[in-house]
């Protein structure tokens, strides 16, 4: 794992590592860096789909609940209004839509990120604490096909890393 001073360094390190043919790698930074996404060719659009589904379900559920409760389960003449007073059912439907969508957004994000995750090997690196302050890290995992403890280390040092460490797990 290589430590860098700036996002710039990290981003082109990532580019070169990708061009080298490394695939199984991850970058760690104190701030989100959009360029990294292309650098590491990340394409994950599952979350929006999840949120959409959640919203639709929430809306249908909300309206369904109201319809069922006031038309089927316990029909009552309330102020001479129709049992199915749809205009009056809109606000609640709207709220349940938002609620379900928001919940699926957060839970979906956590789930896809595999959080909460109490432990991860990178935490073994003492200086990694700086990843949440002002340092940038690029980590090439042993699972990677091209991974070789020595050559990879040399490669990373060649990227002008501030320091390269081996992550034990």
């Amino acid at each position: 794992m290589a430590e860098f001073d700036s996002s710039t360094a990290l981003v082109d390190a990532a580019h070169r590592a990708y061009n080298e043919g490394y695939r199984k790698m991850d970058a760690y930074s104190p701030v989100p860096i959009e360029e990294l996404h292309e650098a590491l060719h990340m394409h994950d659009d599952r979350l929006p789909k999840i949120v959409l589904a959640g919203g639709i379900l929430g809306g249908l559920g909300g309206y369904g609940l109201q319809y069922w409760a006031s038309v089927i389960a316990y029909p009552m003449n309330v102020g001479g209004r129709p049992l199915h007073s749809w205009p009056a059912f809109i606000p609640v439907t709207f709220e349940t839509t938002i609620l379900a969508a928001a919940l699926s957004a957060v839970l979906g994000m956590l789930a896809l990120n595999g959080l909460p995750q109490p432990f991860h090997p990178v935490f073994n690196v003492p200086r990694f604490a700086l990843a949440s302050r002002n340092r940038f890290f690029l980590c090439i995992e042993a699972r990677d096909a091209k991974f070789n403890i020595d050559s990879t280390r040399q490669f990373l040092e060649s990227l002008g890393a501030r320091e390269v460490t081996t992550v034990e797990d």
Partner: protein, 473 residues
């Protein structure tokens, strides 16, 4: 998208919807800051510096007030809502006034963190965190009142749709049920939004905390966040989506609150202008409250670098705009009453201006319409002290508005034989002041134990957040 390229950061902002030309040149973060300084300065407030006497003092006062709330609630539940001044015909009093007021205040937080985010208003970054916290605490206070004002508060859960042996359900045509859904949804989403925003900072605190307890607690809350690029990727999508959802939500909440009145038949309540005018009012009071809080805080904690005059300036502008919308609302109310030529509406308006509660109406016009006009001046907008005073006046004015709407409409409706009046009792006041205490107490705890400014978002504002090449598209 959290990385505004240099272009969006300064000149372009002149064209962005809310932040006007004035003060656009002033950066949203003082120069000379880098990742380290930002991180250290903000997290230091929480981690290193020992609790100041001032904090203890303020917290003590707030906590004492919160206990007034406790006593008031105890007595209320013991004896009945009759301890308040409510009666026939004014069956709603302080409880509903305060409910609407608090909910309104809450709106600013969501607006800042969600809507301004969508509008790419980077200056929001340094205030959104505690604005959101303010939202949560305000909603907590607001949520108390609809429950307390019930004749039988212990049955409040009957308003939720839950399957029960009698197979009876809430009556979904009632705006009060809409309130239940709106407010609970609003509270939940605000909480999620706030917490999601906190995760990376909690990780920072975890990594920087010296105490073991700190590491454990913040670590648990951070859920093992490690700033992985993959995580950041989804994180940003989620955050953006949340913002997108919160935006219509914040509009819907006060719209629904306004339905409590607009749906009814009572002259002074039964008005179509209510939803937009309530939403504007909510944002208005909300920003007033943000200013009321931000100005002293940035002074006490020396955060002028992060909450710059530019922020105050922009918030003042929003205050001015929403203030004008609210003024328009008042105008339309009066105009419609006259234009409708409806006996009851006309009388209601006349009674509002000249009736027993007339002085309050004029006071509210002074607070909400006259006062904000000073904000046309750039000098006043950037003068923290004046801004602080104006924001206080607006807070009072917005409370008066709700009082006028609730009480003066009810106390003289259709049949003169049933005309009455309402006067708050000490228990009304106790409950109201108590919630202010609760609000402040929560706020003090927040300032002490969580980063009041979003660290990672602040980092994105410092120059080296952005790779020099490859990014610009």
């Amino acid at each position: 998208m959290m990385t505004p390229d240099p272009v969006t950061r300064t000149p372009k902002e002149a064209h962005t919807p809310i932040a006007g030309a004035a003060g656009a040149g002033v950066p949203v973060i003082a120069p000379g800051h880098n990742f380290a300084t930002v991180t250290d300065k903000i997290s230091a407030i929480v981690l290193t510096r020992r609790t100041s006497l001032g904090w203890w003092f303020g917290f003590a006062i707030a906590f004492a007030l919160a206990n007034v709330l406790l006593v008031s609630i105890g007595y209320l539940v013991a004896v009945g809502v009759g301890v308040w001044g409510i009666n026939q015909p004014v069956a709603w009093g302080f409880a509903i006034v305060n409910f609407v007021w608090w909910i309104g205040i809450g709106h600013a937080g969501t607006l800042i963190s969600a809507i301004l985010l969508l509008f790419k208003q980077t200056w929001r970054t340094s205030i959104n965190r505690f604005a959101e916290a303010m939202t949560l605490f305000a909603v907590a206070c607001a949520g108390l009142f609809p429950i307390l004002h019930l004749g039988r508060p212990w049955l409040a859960y009957w308003l939720f749709p839950y399957s029960n042996t009698m197979n009876v359900w809430p009556q979904f045509r009632s705006p009060l049920v809409w309130d239940v859904f709106a407010v609970s949804t609003y509270a939940t989403v605000s909480l999620l939004f706030w917490f999601v925003g906190l995760i990376p900072d909690l990780a920072t605190l975890r990594d920087r905390s010296e105490s073991r307890a700190g590491r454990v607690i913040y670590g648990a809350l951070a859920m093992g966040w490690r700033g992985s690029a993959h995580h950041w990727h989804r994180y940003e999508t989620a955050y953006l989506l949340l913002a997108g959802l919160a935006t219509p939500l914040v509009v819907s909440v006060h719209t629904i609150v306004s339905f409590d009145f607009a749906i009814s038949v009572i002259p002074g309540w039964h008005a179509t202008v209510f939803p937009p005018y309530f939403v504007a009012g909510a944002i208005y009071s909300g920003f007033a409250m943000v200013l009321t809080l931000a100005i002293p805080i940035r002074r006490v904690y020396g955060l002028q670098d992060f909450i710059t005059d530019r922020h105050l300036n922009n918030m003042a502008k929003i205050l001015l705009v929403t203030g004008l919308i609210v003024a328009y609302g008042y105008m339309i109310e009066a105009f419609m009453a006259w234009y409708s030529a409806n006996t009851y509406e006309v009388y209601m308006m006349r009674n509002r201006m000249t009736g027993p509660y007339g002085p309050l109406y004029w006071a509210l016009l002074f607070c909400n319409v006259l006062t904000p006009q000073f904000l046309w001046s750039n000098k006043i907008r950037t003068n923290a002290l004046l801004l602080f005073i104006i924001s206080l006046i607006v807070n009072v004015g917005m409370w008066l508005e709700r009082f006028v709407i609730v009480v003066t409409s009810l106390h003289r409706d259709f049949l003169p034989s049933s005309w009455g009046r309402y006067e708050p009792t000490m228990w009304d006041w106790g409950t109201y002041m108590g919630t202010i205490g609760l609000f402040l107490a929560l706020l003090f705890l927040f300032l002490r134990f969580l980063p009041m400014i979003s660290i990672f978002e602040m980092r994105t504002l410092v120059p080296d957040a952005k790779p020099d090449q490859g990014g610009a598209r």
